[in-house]
């Protein structure tokens, strides 16, 4: 029985929580609490707050897409409803003297999200696949459209706003400052992420995977696929509601936009970009996407175009997302052959950067030459200032792009060889 000695079971009996599984979480906690020390500026906090919210939302979304195999086009609804409800709670706190410390608000948001996931999941989870996707789209659009009609709850076009600082102080904190909100979001991020991770290790979490892979087999093991999907859906709705509550706390306003297809589509994009097959995938997706949106958005109006290209390339070439790309290197790393890849990577990274930057330059120059007002033909790109009008700048940028692409093309076989060397064909069966 030597194998059993290595199983998680016996490891678990030795210490309450094995260090190996707790370590990543401890690092994450230290990291999250250290961040504001390194980046104390207001804009950094704004970005980090958005990230925390998006990460929770994306993880909750991946409970469906990645773990349950359900493609939802209307998931913003559950986050939005949770958020709207919390906005009303904040207003009750302010106007009607309801006693509620702000840090507990996400629980209420979660419960409200759960309630609606329970109601809507009742009929939408009866089927998987395309029917589920279509119902989610329909319900999403329905509720988004209702937001303009049901003014009492959704506040119409203006949405609902409130003030987070009106509740009782929480150990002397009134949450007026961004930094306080960040720590609140960080705590809820850790709690939610841990809870979602543990959910995936429960019987229902495992069976959700089973239903995703093979719903028929799961039925013949005693599980109702519909109930399994329904429960996953409710759990996802709960965490979406938490994300919505944090949104309400952070932005102090919710509008129709929090419910509509654009928001639902964005979270799909984030999750898929990160990689649906991994727990950490949505986290990476959210971080990368928010950085693209905010940081790249500061420098170029075309950020959404670049994000779109990146997304499509991901779907086509890396269906496991950015995390899949990283995970591809775990095998070579374990075999100690990562070094084989180093040289081709180093050779390619230069041309690749040149290709990306010159390709983007083509877009930027063309865009500038069309958008700029008369007499403002000068543009500054990568520290160079030149006139965007005329064929020359575009031609130069395009030429560099093509040249670097050809160079990449020539280097590709070396990489392929190295890749094959690092991943020897290994079929033990």
């Amino acid at each position: 029985m030597s194998r059993i000695a290595n199983s998680p079971l016996t490891a678990g009996t030795r210490s309450l929580i094995p260090l190996s599984s707790a370590l990543p979480w401890l690092i994450a906690i230290a990291f999250l609490f250290g961040l504001p020390v390194v980046f104390p500026s207001g804009s950094a906090l704004t970005i980090m707050n958005q990230m925390a919210i998006t990460i929770i939302f994306a993880l909750a979304y991946n409970m469906l897409l990645g773990q349950g195999g359900m493609l939802s086009f209307g998931h913003a609804v559950y986050m939005g409803l949770g958020g709207f409800f919390c906005m009303h709670v904040l207003n009750w706190v302010e106007n009607d003297g309801l006693w509620l410390p702000l840090p507990l608000l996400p629980i209420l948001g979660g419960l409200f999200g759960l309630l609606f996931a329970f109601l809507i999941g009742g009929f939408s989870t009866r089927r998987a696949g395309t029917v589920f996707a279509m119902i989610s789209l329909g319900v999403g659009e329905l509720i988004a459209a209702c937001s303009i009609i049901i003014v009492v709850f959704f506040g119409g076009e203006e949405g609902v706003s409130g003030d987070r600082t009106m509740g009782p102080e929480f150990f002397g904190i009134d949450f007026a400052q961004q930094q306080e909100v960040y720590y609140l979001s960080a705590v809820w991020l850790i709690v939610s992420a841990l809870a979602m991770y543990l959910f995936s290790r429960t019987p229902i979490g495992r069976i959700a995977n089973a239903v995703r892979d093979n719903e028929e087999r799961a039925e013949f093991l005693g599980y109702s696929q519909r109930n399994v999907r329904w429960i996953s859906f409710c759990a996802s709705g709960f965490f979406c509601g938490i994300a919505g509550a944090l949104f309400a706390i952070n932005f102090e306003i919710l509008t129709e936009e929090n419910l509509n297809l654009a928001t639902s589509g964005e979270i799909l994009l984030v999750t898929f970009l990160g990689g649906v097959g991994f727990f950490i995938g949505p986290i990476i997706g959210a971080v990368v996407f928010i950085l693209l949106k905010t940081v790249l958005g500061l420098y170029t109006e075309l950020w959404a175009l670049y994000a779109g290209i990146l997304f499509l390339l991901t779907v086509m070439f890396f269906p496991n997302g950015l995390t899949g790309l990283i995970a591809m290197h775990v095998g070579p790393y374990k075999r100690g052959r990562l070094g084989v890849l180093a040289l081709p990577y180093i050779k390619m990274v230069g041309p690749l950067m040149v290709f990306i930057l010159s390709g983007a330059a083509v877009f930027e120059i063309l865009f500038h030459s069309r958008e700029a007002a008369t007499g403002e033909g000068e543009m500054t790109l990568y520290g160079l200032t030149f006139s965007s009008h005329g064929i020359l700048p575009v031609a130069v940028a395009a030429g560099i792009a093509i040249a670097s692409f050809l160079l990449l093309h020539r280097l590709a076989p070396q990489l392929r060889e190295a890749w094959d060397a690092a991943n020897p064909v290994d079929r033990r069966s």
């Binding site: 089927r127 329909g138 319900v139 009492v152 799909l268 175009l305 086509m316 269906p319 069309r370």
Partner: protein, 318 residues
């Protein structure tokens, strides 16, 4: 009554326009099993190409060349994009077309800018064809009706009388068989995708001058197109026609009549609360049909999917 008649015509225009999109989408779904989320984006491309061509050589050449360009673009995207993703399964395919829709919108904004383009109906058709009780009906809309009907007849002819039509028909009825054949007929896939997108492009050329040519036009119509083919029954061309007309009329009539919920509630014997502004039910009382109009198609779809998942005229379950 005269308002009713003119709304019938307006709804017909909307419905037939929807059908031009839905027919292509249905064909693509039947053959390839993929719901093309980007279908309305090809419609938008049609409008923009139509606009661009009309700016140089007039509306009519645009009517011919813009759909061809869109169709070729569609076929290339099938060949180099969709076919690659096909191996990963249907969910990544759906996600691919979703991403494609986003990217096309960004590209359109990049090329043509973010504001609405002054894409106008040709002068030859810029006059009121007739009027019903003071409500004039533009000649261009008459042209739209005939155009859409013409397309439908051509499509019907191709599907029932030609060899390629037989293959596609077989795909409508026995998707599995043709999907097995699919490995041998990738060209048919490419062709159907190209033709389907070209039809969407044509719809765009025709609709652009009426509904406006702007970057949001694809998303505005996209989900309605989806709703229509699901309601009609995935894979059913007749279902698509019936659902298109149904939704066209539903939307037109809902916007045209100011029927209020309060009338209904009072008729049902409820009493209007005196202090309406502070009543929690004030939205219910002030609800009007035009307000509800935009959500009716979605409501219809959700109900259909719950009650009859195969759609109105569909034969197989989605």
């Amino acid at each position: 009554m005269s308002l009713f008649a003119v709304n019938i015509l307006d709804g017909l225009v909307t419905g037939l326009l929807l059908f031009m999109l839905c027919s292509g989408l249905t064909l693509i779904f039947s053959m390839m099993g993929v719901l093309n989320f980007a279908h309305a984006s090809f419609y938008m491309l049609g409008a923009y190409f139509g606009y661009q061509i009309s700016a140089y050589v007039g509306f009519w050449p645009g009517l011919i060349f813009a759909p061809i360009i869109v169709g070729v673009a569609g076929a290339l995207i099938e060949r180099y994009g969709l076919r690659r993703v096909h191996q990963f399964g249907h969910v990544p395919e759906l996600i691919f077309t979703f991403g494609l829709a986003l990217l096309i919108e960004e590209l359109v904004q990049f090329i043509w800018g973010k504001s609405q383009k002054a894409y106008e109906a040709p002068l030859a058709l810029d006059f009121p064809a007739f009027a019903i009780a003071g409500n004039s009906f533009p000649a261009y809309k008459v042209f739209m009706i005939f155009m859409a009907m013409g397309i439908f007849l051509v499509l019907l002819y191709i599907l029932t009388k030609t060899r390629i039509g037989m293959i596609i028909q077989a795909a409508l009825s026995y998707p599995a068989t043709v999907q097995n054949l699919g490995h041998n007929v990738p060209l048919v896939f490419m062709g159907v995708f190209g033709v389907g997108t070209a039809m969407a492009g044509l719809a765009g050329v025709i609709a652009g001058p009426v509904l406006g040519t702007f970057p949001g036009m694809a998303f505005q119509l996209g989900s309605i197109v989806f709703v229509t083919i699901v309601v009609g029954g995935l894979g059913s061309l007749w279902g698509a026609l019936v659902a298109s007309l149904l939704i066209g009329w539903l939307q037109t009539f809902a916007a045209a009549y100011n029927v209020g919920m309060s009338d209904l509630l009072i008729a049902l014997g409820f009493e209007k609360p005196l202090d309406l502004a502070n009543s929690a039910l004030r939205d219910l009382w002030s609800l009007t049909l035009p307000q509800v109009g935009p959500i009716l198609p979605y409501l219809l779809m959700v109900l259909i999917l719950i009650m009859r998942p195969q759609g109105l005229l569909g034969k197989r379950e989605t």
